[in-house]
Symmetry: C2
Amino acid sequence: MVVDMLSEDEVDRLFQALADATRRDIVARVLIAEYSVSGLAEQYDMSFAAVQKHVAVLERASLVTKERRGREQIVRGQVDGVQKARRLLDEYEEIWRQRVDRITDILAADAQDED
Amino acid sequence: MVVDMLSEDEVDRLFQALADATRRDIVARVLIAEYSVSGLAEQYDMSFAAVQKHVAVLERASLVTKERRGREQIVRGQVDGVQKARRLLDEYEEIWRQRVDRITDILAADAQDED
DNA sequence: CATATCTACAACCATATGGTTGTACGTTAC
DNA sequence: GTAACGTACAACCATATGGTTGTAGATATG
């Protein structure tokens, strides 16, 4: 059963956001604890602006949220984004399982014929 | 527990391959049944070469396999690629769940303090 | 053999991506 | 008020991506 109703664009953004090691690391970090954008930037060997862009990509993909706190912007992980992506992949596995079942049925029918 | 041991590059390729609607559709199709590359190309409103490139991306990501049969190249879905990606996402959910548990513990400890 | 089919691959183009530096602006601290 | 901090955003660059057309090789079919 499909519960998600994600547009193709949303799914594109989800997987595209996950297709970068730095961004996956950011997701893991902010699922564990809050970070400011500059706090995140300290963790990586790249400019603040680069990290800022990664966070923006993750935000557009609904994998993190940003919330202003004073002069800082707090980044938090958004687990339902992760869950949506996982459920998508579950559906592919389901498709595959159904094919296996179908093939098993066919083989069973063949066995019947041979009786 | 991590069982996968996928390199960052492999994961990059996996998610990158899934970040395109045409490629996701190809994966779904070849999980259900075999297709030749030209058979796949008929399904989409783009050139044969474009579909060929998409299949190549999926192959590098271990989401499909190609096998020559006469002059055709048969494409099949590779479910373990899908499963690897899903397990990756499971790990993120696990990270998140552990944080929730930790926060719950802290709240419980605070409640203790107030007694 | 001749022809049609399926694939491979190169060359090209427009746009997207991942990075940089520089500038500007709001917020906190002294 | 001034300086330092955190952020936003523009401009720029190199490379990757998703598409095209064209050419060539291998395999089947008449």
